[in-house]
Symmetry: D2
């Protein structure tokens, strides 16, 4: 970490600052230029609050030289993490598609979709039981009953399941869930992250819609610092001014995350675009860019005209998307230049 | 609500849609133009999921005509809500300043600040006990001990207190807190909102950094729908590309919220700008724009050079800001044109 | 176009509005519901100013049903436009790479790069002669001399050239340029667009960093309405809060543009990421997503350490990127679901 | 400027870099830490391209210590600039309202509005003659005829006039215009800025909707570096995800600009909100925050129902807004803490 001091800084304050840093086991290299003085900090600076330092009256600017995410970062973990989810591998060159309905609606619906996506090559089943909804009047999911249906579908098809948790109090219900999903709105629900960090179970951590890549890695750090080493990062779109898509899918986040972190990276083309018509294109793009997998919404309910055409693909369209994805995968750019 | 259908929509699907809407007690007025058909929906459409409708294969577009926030909206509550917090009024033409340190650090610190801001005209004391921090390695607040110190400061000074909750499991600890703050990161923590909706205690709801004004009102709706009618809205900056300030304070949100909702509106100039130098200017601007109050960070620890200059004001600067605020207040624009 | 009127609209104002619309050869279908009245407009509404209508005191909302870009839109031009640039095709299933240095610096530099990228499969040469720079003190390009060097390189290598124009007064200098580039900052320089619309020469139109997809198509419409039918759209990143990349490359814009417009779509992975390390990944992703080509910065000046490592690729890295791009191209998703 | 080098940087490249910097008359202070080496640059670094340096393979990061806007910055111009526009002062504690119609439509319209706003306290008249329009099919303004009408209104009322230029070729038409406005879309039209820098006439420079405060000051620097010292900065809203207002008015830009620059600051509450109902509130807020003036749209055409209710105020509402503005002005925060 480098601290650039203001010109003519008060020397008593500067001594205070240096003394305080030394209590943190950080040694200081001072370098004085004509107009400014620079402090080089050597030691473990990951616990220093950069905002606090930046706010000091004698400080002009502060610059981190090492990234603050020790566990999520590549520096001490050069090799890609590969997560084994009941035999399905995520990371390390595998292309893993997780598919299923937005909400679990019924036993029949779920089984039909699960069997269909399995046939098309999906390796895991997703489905929402607890649904975070902007409006208190909207359908909030089947809750614990939805979880039961997911576990039944897992038994029937052999597909491990992924489903979203909304609150730490629900953890006991998720004991048999294979991957617990933390939604974008909870990416900085630190109390939830602390509890999930105590588990030994894979966590799929979605990027918040206004969160930077660094913040995503800091949230992963909460899980890893707690001892849970199985974290999967998920890019699902950020909020911008563009309105033709529900969010803007930030595919550049893939090579950036790849260069900064060893954790596997999954992309959700369904929620990000909010439109089934754009899912095919974004799925192959994400894989070409080096993503380790996809999280895709698939829905099929021929009796109900209402579901047709949503951000969900039909099983038939999903089959075509999966074929394209597997065709592109061998040519993906997974290297770190 | 108006549904604009695609040209040559499938008539069986259209009949399905109309039949389904009628099961929701919504009647339909169909109007056929040369190129398109429009359905006008009459009835309580607040529970309809606009995204779901928009996604139907026969639907071109959907347009709400009435706002979906029945309880937070002005339509059925034309008069401003005024909240009485142990004798301090928020809303209805009062200018209420809430001030205090970012984090509660010690008994001495808190009391010194509380007495000082009270003298300058603050009507309530704020202070963080549970702190949401981006990094797991940063100071997480004093927790329950911080709450105890706040309650002591309340006893000593008579100032009602405001402090942030991070998780529903902490609710019992907040029994004697006057206003519970929901931070920006938790604005869409719906499980927490549902639990807080069951209380009968004022909630200060901060706008998420990437949340629209409509979403803020929908989150308020969670609290109101639960039966808790004492909700205070708080604008605290949104995330944009500008980096000279930590966030971009969206003061236009004040007249927009004023026109849409009857709830009181508070502005936080400290977190939004992230820089004490801009707090004075944004405080008077917020009040001039019609805000009902301010949430300002004040800190004083002369023994510790580290705190100087942060986003917190010193008690001395706060005194000048408060004087300006009270001078501008009589000329504020609170009308709804 | 559909106009939704406010409840209890003044009937004299409504008659005025209808009379005015009729002077524009637009006929009106009025449909009265219980709470609101809707006007359906039939005729050529592309010249109506939606903002102006929305602002009328009797209007609640206005909704376009047809897109306002008649010439750029697919509705009347269902087939993809393919542009022939001195024998090089852009659009229609071709994968066209345009490569070259950010700025033209010298004859040697340009020729070396041109020959090298040609060998790797680039079909056109790019290079900046007039450079838009944020700072007035930064290098502004070689100007007319740069154009001369580009034309020499074209002669030598046979590669058609693409270079940026900054002002309509420069048009005469661009007579022998194959494609004139309009940079992101000039996407809404309507005076320049009007002049370029009079030419019969391909224009590469870059999306402004804060411009929506609709605005990009409206700017293309300026060129097309002027009679210049050879417009190439270019996605080059939009400005968001993320700072790990210089801009956020919006690859979802590819399928969105594909569905709305018949014009070819090019992606610039160099400027958008601002980092050579991410260009490989974003290049293959763009092609997989269905882009018709790429605009890539390549630089080589072994004598000058200063150029190493920028957002430009070295010729050697470019060769590898080009190989990946051509390998992925056959599996690209170019369909419109 | 401080350059932080990567660990184990190639020493030949480092020597190249240092040699090159020395050719620019910059001397280097090298300071070696345990893990990294830092170069402190002393001399005039304003012409160095920070992006280029940042991109060097041996460079980890670059940090400016002095702002790159020498002429627009406060460092060498500590006192506020006050601009005298035919006797009307802008800056230096004056509160100057510029008002008028969005577009000049007719002699009668313009005169009626000019006389009315003058009576309410406006000191200058604004009006659009050349209009930048997103759509090529929308009304593009009266052009030169509009300028003639503005000059007539100036003669009649004595109000100096402000109107927008779109292209350098129009400069001769603007000879008698008192302030030339550069619109948001042209803030980075550097060719236009260079030409306007040659004039000796006040320029009102609007912030681009996706431009940072630093970029605004760099564009001002183009004008100042050309020798035109009369530059007025204008905040008019930036593009964000919020849709309740057309743009998000960034009022924090006022104290930020005040601290960085000596140039006067004007705010446009009409275009930023896009809604006349929010103009009153944002006008008093801008003045309270320390703005030197306002640019407000006023329109009155009783014969034409179409104009009612737009982002323009009626003369009657403008009169009330102006009264509020002058009442708040004495309590504005113009200080720099």
């Amino acid at each position: 970490m480098v601290i650039i001091l203001k010109e003519n800084s008060d020397s008593a304050q500067l001594e205070n600052l240096i003394a305080w840093l030394e209590t943190k086991d950080i040694s200081i290299h001072k370098s004085e230029g004509e107009n400014s003085t620079i402090l080089g900090l050597v030691g473990d600076t990951s616990a220093l609050d950069i905002d606090m330092l930046q706010a000091l009256s004698i400080v002009k600017d502060v610059k981190r030289i090492q990234e603050p995410f020790k566990n999520a970062g590549r520096q001490f973990h050069p090799n890609d993490t590969v997560i084994d989810v009941s035999g399905v591998l995520i990371g390390g060159g595998n292309t893993t598609i997780i598919a299923g309905p937005c909400s679990v609606e019924s036993r029949e619906q779920l089984l039909m979709i699960a069997q269909s996506v399995k046939k098309s090559g999906a390796k895991m089943l997703r489905g929402g039981a607890f649904k975070p909804r902007t409006s208190p009047y909207a359908f909030q999911g089947l809750g614990a009953d939805g979880l039961t249906l997911l576990l039944e579908a897992k038994k029937e098809t052999g597909l491990p399941i992924v489903t979203e948790i909304l609150d730490a109090s629900q953890i006991p219900l998720f004991e048999d869930v294979d991957i617990i999903q933390v939604g974008a709105r909870n990416m900085q629900n630190f109390e939830l992250l602390k509890e999930l960090g105590k588990l030994r179970k894979p966590i799929l951590l979605k990027r918040g819609i206004a969160c930077t890549i660094n913040e995503l890695l800091m949230s992963a750090e909460y899980l890893l610092a707690g001892g849970n080493s199985e974290v999967i990062l998920c890019e699902r779109g950020i909020r911008t001014f563009e309105t033709q898509t529900r969010y803007t899918l930030d595919l550049s986040a893939i090579p950036v995350l790849r260069s900064l972190s060893h954790l596997p990276i999954i992309v959700d083309p369904s929620h990000s675009t909010g439109n089934a018509r754009f899912v095919h294109s974004m799925s192959v793009a994400a894989i070409a860019a080096g993503a380790d997998g996809l999280l895709i919404e698939v829905h099929n309910d021929p009796a109900c005209a209402l579901c047709d055409g949503q951000q969900s693909l039909t099983p038939w369209t999903f089959d075509r998307v999966a074929k394209s994805v597997f065709a592109v995968a061998p040519y993906a750019c997974r290297e770190r230049i």
